[in-house]
Amino acid sequence: MHSFGYRANALFTFAITILALVCAMASLSDSLNSPSPSAHVQVLNINWFQKQPNGNDEVSMTMNISADLQSLFTWNTKQVFVFLAAEYETPKNSLNQISLWDGIIPSKEHAKFWIHTSNKYRFIDQGRNLRGKEFNLTMHWHVMPKTGKMFADKIVMPGYRLPEEYR
């Protein structure tokens, strides 16, 4: 019973087992990488700031987003999903997170970027808490590897404040 088919089957099984092992090692090699990303956001202008007819506050702003996420990329990285969230506290919710902008970075060459944009998604509060509100802008990212576990991290940039009056 040591036929052509037997040998082909044994080889295939062993080859796939080793492939899984190699992929696991590639995934583990990611932990050798200690990334040092940086991000910086500048709020250039509050375009408008108003109360919606239903009573919720809405802001539109123009921002300068610059980030260097190149160190997140390793040989096992497929892409990086990144989003910028406004985070603040209200009496109702201890943490409000509102995504203002997001993007998919397909390669290391695109990981150092600079964008001048108004908020891509609407900045609407659940209520009327935004006047004079201090908020953080947080750069979140999710690294999607070719094999292995996805992981996420963030940079918190504190010290932003909305105006006291609607405009």
Partner: protein, 93 residues
């Protein structure tokens, strides 16, 4: 493929695959290219298949020497006795 050939084929298969996996991982890691690692490894798998799966002549260098059929007459089959305790199946693979 004879007995020694089977052993050789099995060992060659395992050693070659492991070696190609190590080489593929190292090339992939140092060129920072996952694709290159996969290509190197699959190249290795195909080469290993060509070396170990077909019944190449060098797997038949230790053929079994079967007894001549005339030996059967000289050694007649033992007749089944009353107590069949020593009934053993021949080792067959």
């Amino acid at each position: 493929m004879d007995w020694q050939g089977q052993k050789l084929a099995e060992q060659l298969m395992q050693i070659l695959l492991l070696a190609f996996a190590v080489v593929a991982f190292i090339t992939g890691y140092f060129t920072a290219s996952f694709q290159l690692m996969i290509l190197t490894y699959f190249g290795g798998v195909i080469l290993t298949t060509l070396v170990t799966v077909p019944n190449w002549p060098f797997y038949n260098r230790h053929p079994l020497k079967w007894l001549d059929s005339s030996e059967v007459e000289k050694h007649p089959k033992p007749q089944p006795s009353a107590n069949s305790t020593s009934k053993k199946k021949p080792v067959k693979k």
